[in-house]
């Protein structure tokens, strides 16, 4: 992009002011090239993402239903239960994102900076867990956390506790399962951001007498922030829509808004309500995105730290 900008500026300098009414031949050609290159990806975006969303929006207002257009879907949605489930789901997603960020940051740092084969092994282990099915991993947590599971047996047999702890089939179990399942996503978005940080900055700051804490606060953390923001958004979105892990590990005590959507479709057959609920989720996520933009500047996600 910088090269094209430069030639734009160059052409502008060469042209007399009064002749610059319409686009020049160069600008037209450039625009044509951009459009033709963008045409295919834009068409894919429109067909695969924009169109289904528009259909969903249309359905949420009663499109395609026998009763015709109405606000009934949104009216039905304004029940305390849906708002409360939304609140809980939001809390679940936020806490999971925060925990993933805190856990993934040192992990990614270690993987980027370690100088041994161990680093490669850590990467392997991380990717292998991503290949395993969510369902298998969810059930594995049950084996570990249940009343007669690995953890409780160890604690009870060593005499540390008398009664097994309630580690699963409640909200705690949901958090443990979700954080474990989503942690790799945070790590793999942090790694490239951290790799792009030039170690010379850190060395320079240290050599100029900054304390390690200050170097981290003022150099490393800001430069790795784009990765952290991108990872947080990814984990948040996934956690917000996660269905199976909360359903199983929650023991019925952690119903999410997605569970309600499933009921609306499968049990009630109410597509309009389900579409309206989905639209609410979408608006919510978009709202958070805008908030993120205000706070951190969303375009920084595409920056490569330190360059």
């Amino acid at each position: 992009m910088t090269q094209i900008d430069a030639s734009d500026a160059g052409i502008a300098r060469l042209q007399p002011e009064e002749r610059r009414h319409g686009p020049t031949a160069w600008e037209r050609q450039q625009r044509g090239l951009t459009l033709s290159l963008m045409a295919v990806p834009m068409a894919v975006m429109a067909l695969a993402f924009v169109l289904p969303l528009l259909v969903l929006l249309w359905m949420s207002f009663g499109g395609g239903s026998s009763e015709g257009f109405s606000l009934k879907g949104y009216g039905d949605l304004m029940q305390p239960v849906y708002l409360r489930l939304l609140g809980f789901t939001l809390q679940l997603a936020l806490v999971t994102t925060l925990a993933c960020a805190l856990l993934a940051y040192p992990l990614a740092y270690l993987m980027v900076n370690i100088r041994s084969r161990f680093g490669a092994w850590m990467g392997m282990v991380l990717f292998v867990t991503l290949w395993l099915s969510f369902l298998a991993r969810t059930f594995s947590w049950i084996i570990i956390l249940q009343r007669r599971g690995v953890v409780n047996n160890l604690l009870v047999n060593t005499g540390l506790i008398d009664q097994p702890l309630e580690l699963v089939y409640n909200k705690l179990g949901v958090y443990i399962g979700l954080i474990h399942i989503l942690l790799p996503f945070m790590v793999i978005t942090l790694i490239p951001a951290m790799k792009a940080i030039d170690p010379a900055y850190v060395r320079a700051a240290l050599s100029l007498g900054a304390t390690p804490g200050r170097v981290f606060r003022e150099i490393y953390l800001p430069l790795s922030l784009p990765g952290l923001v991108a990872g947080s958004m990814l984990v948040f979105t996934l956690a917000f829509g996660f269905f199976i892990t909360p359903a199983i590990l929650g023991g019925g005590r952690a119903p999410t808004i997605v569970l309600a959507i499933r009921d609306q479709i499968q049990t009630l057959g109410n597509l309009q309500l389900a579409a309206a609920t989905s639209m609410l989720l979408l608006v919510f996520c978009l709202g958070l995105l805008v908030l993120y933009d205000r706070i951190s500047g969303i375009d920084r996600i595409y920056d490569r730290g330190g360059r």
Partner: protein, 361 residues
């Protein structure tokens, strides 16, 4: 949505008995099947896993041999999806294994075509089909049972015999689990509160929630998926259950540490239905008739513990089979049949209230 959202996607495999019983029950050569001859292919939408593998083996493959019609299966029955398919005029299913309430929903939305009973009764005598499950727009496929089950290490064979006893925390000390769904938790809570099974319907929704309030502190966990039962039972996580008969029976045979009773078992009927726009509708009617024959019915019921539509199969079966077939008259007499019409009419009101109730601590 994938198949793990259903209560029966993960039915386990205990087909040995079926093989023993089914072997002698190949379709008789004397029967004239020329009316079943057809062409093309059929897509049956059912619930996946072992459940539909057994249907393929016992019903669909032999039908293909006789009729020349290929049959394949897909999952899962979803009336919202069917509605969309009917609307855009591209129905992918020819025969659907719908839950009773799903069928009611589909009938209200005009998605189904009537069953051709002339075809059915040309192949099987009318009196052998349970009239309760022979409806205009559907004929009984199988019925699922939710039973009172318990940890027999703790309670031996003397487990709770009614839901009231099941909920008695003085007499039966242990951890309890139920399905995280209003159906059949409403029925269970009402019976636990002392309402006789025959007086459950029509359900008074407020009374049901009152009964659930009384039950809630006693329930240690709510089960979302049938596949969870095996894990819960094998690990002794819970001791008293309102669990799927298929899973309970499997665990009883496997470990011997689980026992159950047919008393106050809750039976939910499913139906074979044919979508209005099914491309292979005519062939699907033939397949339906084929499936109503006693040989396949007995083979299927012996393989998986479900109630089937043909009631003539229970005449001459061994005692150990009698003890595990929910449709065996002595067992069926003790069950409560889910009133699908009531549920279809009231689910829209009940479901959000149930979620609200369940999500409140």
């Amino acid at each position: 949505m994938t198949d793990f959202t259903t209560r029966r996607g993960f039915l386990g495999g205990t087909a040995a008995t079926a093989l023993a019983l089914g072997a002698g029950l190949r379709p008789g050569l004397a029967q004239d099947y020329s009316a079943l001859k057809g062409k093309g292919s059929l897509v049956v939408c059912t619930w996946g896993g072992h459940y539909s593998d057994e249907m393929q083996r016992i019903w669909f493959d032999p039908f293909s041999e006789v009729s020349g019609v290929d049959v394949s299966t897909t999952s899962l029955p979803d009336m919202a999806k069917l509605e969309v398919m009917e609307k855009v005029g591209n129905v992918e299913w020819d025969l659907v294994d719908t839950e009773g309430t799903q069928m009611q929903l589909a009938i209200e939305k005009g998605l189904l075509q009537p069953i051709d009973y002339d075809m059915v009764f040309s192949l099987v005598p009318k009196e052998t089909i349970d009239p309760k499950v022979a409806k205009d727009y559907g004929i009984g496929s199988v019925a699922f049972s939710t039973v009172i089950a318990w940890n027999s290490d703790l309670f031996g064979a003397e487990g709770p015999q009614t839901w009231t006893e099941w909920a008695d925390t003085e007499r039966f000390k242990g951890r309890r689990a139920l399905y995280a769904q209003p159906r059949p938790s409403f029925e269970i809570a009402l019976m636990a509160a002392g309402v006789p099974p025959e007086e459950i319907y029509p359900i008074d929704i407020d009374a049901a929630f009152e009964a659930l309030d009384a039950l809630k502190p006693k329930i240690d966990l709510w089960v979302q998926k049938t596949s969870q039962w095996a894990v819960l039972m094998q690990n002794g996580e819970v001791d008293l259950m309102g669990s799927s008969l298929a899973r309970t029976l499997e665990e009883k045979k496997r470990s011997g540490r689980i026992d159950f009773t047919f008393n106050e078992s809750i039976v939910e009927q499913s139906y074979w239905t044919i979508p209005k726009g099914a491309p292979g509708g005519a062939e699907a009617q033939k397949l339906l008739a084929w499936m109503m024959q006693p040989e396949g019915m007995l083979a299927y019921a012996s393989s998986l513990p479900f109630v089937v539509a043909n009631t003539a199969i229970y005449g001459d079966i061994p005692a150990d089979m009698q003890e595990q077939l929910p449709g065996f008259p002595a067992n069926a007499a003790r069950n409560l049949q889910i009133d699908e019409a009531w549920w279809a009419a009231n689910t829209a009101e009940v479901q959000p209230r149930w979620l609200d109730w369940l999500s409140r601590a």
